[in-house]
């Protein structure tokens, strides 16, 4: 478990270093996500070394974004002004995304 946490932080730092060196406009943790996937695929690290730790992070993911949700309160005035545009555009766009993704896979994928 400890080793897994260590690996995850190492890949996080690796991602940050890559972003810094190549001056990318993608966040370091996203590069870290790709890097750990490649490392697993190339068998540089083993799944069982990181699985326990990564499962814990994912299990408590929702807890970690609560502070950002609370931060919405500081934007009450802006939201009050724009709420119709926000609600209408996100609802329509979400339904469209659901449908487009679903219909493509249903039409072209192998299904049970």
């Amino acid at each position: 478990m400890f080793k897994g946490v260590l690996y995850i932080f190492l890949f996080l730092i690796l991602g940050e270093v890559i972003v810094y060196l190549f001056n990318l406009s993608i966040a370091g943790n996203i590069i870290g996500m790709v890097a750990i996937f490649i490392a697993l695929k190339l068998k540089v690290i083993k799944l069982q070394e990181v699985k326990a730790a990564s499962d814990q992070f994912i299990k408590y993911m929702v807890l970690f974004f609560i502070p950002y949700g609370v931060g919405l309160m500081t934007f009450y005035d802006i939201l009050k002004l724009h709420w119709i545009a926000i609600v209408v555009s996100t609802v329509i766009s979400t339904i469209l995304t659901l449908y487009v993704t679903g219909i493509i896979l249903q039409k072209f994928g192998k299904n049970e």
Partner: protein, 231 residues
């Protein structure tokens, strides 16, 4: 008394307490709006407003929890590897579906928001609305949006997809469970994927992988797409 609020312990403790009780309520009564994140966020905001505590004071501790989203994104890469093994046979139609769906998400939400008169920071904040919160926060930061607004919208989209996604898809003629799983993961990230798991283990895997792929795709293309709309 007000010194207590300035301690990191305060923000952490109140978040843990709110989350604990929200989870209890959520598991006791199966009702879509009793989502643990939604309940926690609303109860903490109410508490801060009633006791006249500034968000900044709460966030002295809150930011420590928020920091852990960084390693969580890396952990998603591990999840991605695990799920990838399960759906290899369908990988090309699946990845195409997620890429087209994910691109549609950004284009449609930006264009609709602009047509409806939303300001530029709002458009930049809601562009990554379909991807998992930690990635959406990073994207909003990178493209000049407001991470807090992005987080709020993303959570709301997730709850919407979780609550109504499967019903909407069935009405629109999507019967395949794997397709429903992929659609939920693409449009409504982890909170949608939780609902995909109700459809079965394999649809859950499709949802989880769709969430990872769309997160990566959106992180790469949003900076360019948004500049097409706002330049």
């Amino acid at each position: 008394m007000s010194e207590i609020y300035q301690l990191p312990l305060f923000g952490i403790l109140i978040t843990l307490l709110a989350f604990h009780f929200s989870k209890k309520i959520g598991s006791k009564w199966k009702f879509v709006l009793f989502n643990p994140v939604l309940l926690s966020v609303i109860s903490i905001i109410c508490f801060l407003v009633v006791f006249e505590i500034e968000f900044e004071a709460y966030n002295v501790g809150g930011q420590y929890l928020g920091f852990l989203l960084g390693p969580t994104v890396v952990a998603l890469g591990v999840l991605f590897y695990e799920k990838y093994e399960q759906i290899k046979e369908n990988i090309i139609p699946f990845v195409s579906a997620v890429i087209i769906g994910g691109t549609m998400s950004i284009i449609s939400v930006c264009s609709l928001a602009i047509i409806l008169g939303a300001s530029e920071p709002i458009v930049r904040s809601i562009a990554p609305k379909s991807v998992t919160t930690p990635i959406a926060l990073e994207i909003a930061n990178t493209i000049g949006g407001v991470p807090y607004i992005a987080a709020g919208i993303v959570i709301a989209v997730g709850i919407f997809g979780n609550a109504f996604g499967p019903a909407i898809l069935r009405v629109l003629g999507i019967k395949s469970k794997n397709a429903i799983g992929a659609a939920l993961g693409t449009a409504a990230h982890g909170i949608g994927t939780a609902r995909a798991l109700d459809e079965g283990k394999l649809p859950g895997a499709y949802g989880g992988l769709a969430m990872c792929i769309n997160g990566l795709l959106t992180a790469i293309i949003t900076p360019y797409l948004v500049n097409l709309f706002l330049s």
